[in-house]
């Protein structure tokens, strides 16, 4: 009997085509919006595009974070998710291309508040802000961010591929582990700056030091949810049928619960400090987001991004269920979008109703992202065949 090669089943190819179809539909919908909104189109487009961009960026970067986490800590869940994680990180070059419209056309539609800040008086920037928030600085930093992330993505994918060929090379595993620790620190550090540049600077007078962490953990949630959904889908057909077991789902569910709690912890820390201080500059963030229509969204996020997933994921049976766990996971991916909507949109409008433009932009970017992701899944075996712990990880246990 020959060992299975664990190549992706045909369903991945069908998924790729469907995702691509959704992406094209999204692009066409953006075109319809152009005729619908005319003069307002550029503004509306970039307001929606930013959400979609941050979302797909999070899918790739969260996967990079999880990939390094599993290299660092080991564990069977990491071996099961490693190839999907690597496939998700390898979409990052496409995400970098997605950034170009923002860099070339979008800045004046998004960051007008600091681009056109008055030199003196109300709304003027401090000296530090004036030196940091410049369009050339913004662009140079964006290049640095993407270079750092892409280098990490490249190295980890390269080594992982080498491992498939050279199964006896234990030093390779050690090298990946050694790089993973500094890599995680680098990822969080760079993402903090990216979150400041791309999202927090929408309101340049407001600042929060935990903002980057909020994005990091949000990315982790969306990426972990994606992995759960992908693994459950793959487990339905050969070659992964019977390989992915309930104990793997259990581990992934536990991590998802931890990420949901961490997200709530970061979010509440920010609220508590700003609420206690009650300073005019800081509280503006929550003044716009906790009242009126945005208040409804805030409560929705609190209940459906925290309480419902939290109490559901406490259950052991749910974490081990191939029916329920992916439902919670997909729901959390949707809530990530709602959260991004709540974080960014109040800077532009008091209307908390998403429009056709939002659906179109998300459909376009996410569709393309998923198509490339599925394509990447097909290029390599679905399990890291060279990993010394693979046998142990796929061993069938009754429990």
């Amino acid at each position: 009997m020959t060992a299975p090669d664990y190549m992706a089943p045909e369903s991945v190819g069908r998924f790729e085509q469907r995702a691509l179809g959704a992406g094209i539909a999204g692009v066409l919908a953006c075109g319809i919006c152009f005729f619908l909104y005319r003069d307002q189109f550029a503004d509306r487009f970039f307001h929606s595009y930013l959400i979609a961009f941050m979302f797909v960026l999070g899918l790739s970067l969260g996967s990079l974070g999880l990939l390094m986490l599993q290299h660092l800590t080991g564990g069977h869940w990491g071996i099961m998710t490693r190839r999907p994680l690597e496939s998700a990180t390898r979409v990052l070059p496409v995400v970098a291309v997605f950034f170009l419209p923002i860099a070339i056309f979008g800045m004046k539609h998004l960051y007008g508040e600091w681009l056109n800040a008055p030199a003196k008086g109300e709304g003027s920037l401090s000296d530090l802000q004036k030196s940091y928030l410049t369009s050339s600085g913004f662009l140079i930093r964006a290049v640095i961010y993407f270079v750092v992330w892409l280098v990490l993505v490249f190295i980890f994918n390269r080594w992982s591929k080498e491992q498939d060929v050279n199964r006896e090379d234990r030093a390779l595993r050690r090298r990946m582990q050694m790089l993973a620790g500094p890599g995680i620190i680098l990822y969080v550090f760079v993402m903090t700056f990216a979150a400041i540049d791309w999202v927090m600077s929408l309101s340049p007078h407001w600042a929060s030091t935990i903002y980057g962490f909020l994005f990091v953990i949000g990315q982790m949630i969306s990426s972990m949810s994606l992995m759960i959904a992908v693994l459950v889908l793959l487990s339905r057909t050969a070659p992964m049928e019977g390989v992915i077991q309930r104990r793997h789902l259990h581990d992934l569910g536990k991590l998802l619960l931890a990420f949901v709690m961490l997200w709530a912890y970061f979010g509440f820390s920010q609220l508590l400090i700003i609420w206690s201080g009650n300073l005019p500059e800081e509280i503006s963030f929550y003044r716009t987001r906790l009242y009126g229509g945005w208040g409804v969204v805030a409560v929705f996020v609190l209940i459906f991004h925290f309480f419902v997933p939290f109490f559901s994921l406490l259950s052991r049976d749910l974490k081990r269920s191939a029916q329920m766990l992916p439902k919670i996971a997909v729901w959390l991916i949707f809530m990530r979008l709602v959260d991004l909507f709540w974080l960014t949109r109040p800077e532009f409008t008091s209307s908390a109703v998403p429009g056709l433009m939002d659906v179109a932009a998300i459909l376009a970017l996410a569709g393309i992202w998923f198509a490339v992701f599925a394509r990447n899944l097909k290029t390599q075996p679905l399990l890291p065949l060279g990993d010394p712990k693979l046998e142990e990880a796929i061993e069938v246990h009754e429990y």
Partner: protein
């Protein structure tokens, strides 16, 4: 005076390797025994499953403890700040719920953790000053380098000679009876 006859607690067998114990546990269960216990120097992976251990109440007790701690913690702060000793602090509402959350959170953790530990002890029937298993001759090795299994006399299938032979058949060493006092 009638000499007190000691009762049999069970029959104990000894293994050198954890895998042998896991294997034996499966066989004992398959043979129809229900009341038996394993003793090992360290947690042996797969042993609870091999023994057919089912879910226990500890998670539920922990959840209830956490809920009591959380609701109690928030409720107490609410009562203190709104009814018992209302005070205007920097113009904030009396029910300043964001400020109550850290204490609520901590009390949830504290009560959940305490109920987990105490619930586990209670379900195990601990503390228990003495246990018949300590009468077993070589039992001190259970905390050093040997793995034991003891089939208890209260099991319906228990027959002293048969059970002892059965254990020996599973290649257990030093099979011996354990007295009750």
């Amino acid at each position: 005076m009638i000499a007190r006859r000691s009762h049999i607690y069970g029959v104990i067998g000894e293994f050198e390797k954890p895998e042998q114990l896991v294997h034996a546990a499966v066989k004992i269960r398959e043979a129809g025994y229900r009341y038996y216990e394993s003793y090992t120097p360290f947690p042996v992976e797969g042993l609870p499953e091999a023994m057919g251990m089912r879910r226990n109440m500890v998670p539920l007790i922990t959840l209830l403890g956490g809920l009591v701690g959380g609701l109690g913690g928030f409720g107490f702060q609410y009562w203190a700040n709104v009814y018992s000793y209302p005070m205007n602090i920097a113009g904030r509402p009396l029910n300043s719920w964001p400020a109550f959350i850290p204490v609520t959170f901590e009390l949830t953790i504290l009560c959940a953790a305490l109920s987990a530990v105490l619930g586990m002890l209670a379900l195990n029937g601990l503390p228990q000053p003495h246990h018949p298993i300590f009468n077993a001759h070589r039992f001190t090795h259970a905390s050093a380098d040997r793995f034991f299994v003891c089939i208890q006399a209260r099991d319906k299938k228990f027959q002293l000679a048969d059970t002892a032979r059965f254990l020996q058949g599973l290649s257990a060493h030093h099979v011996s009876e354990v007295h009750d006092d």
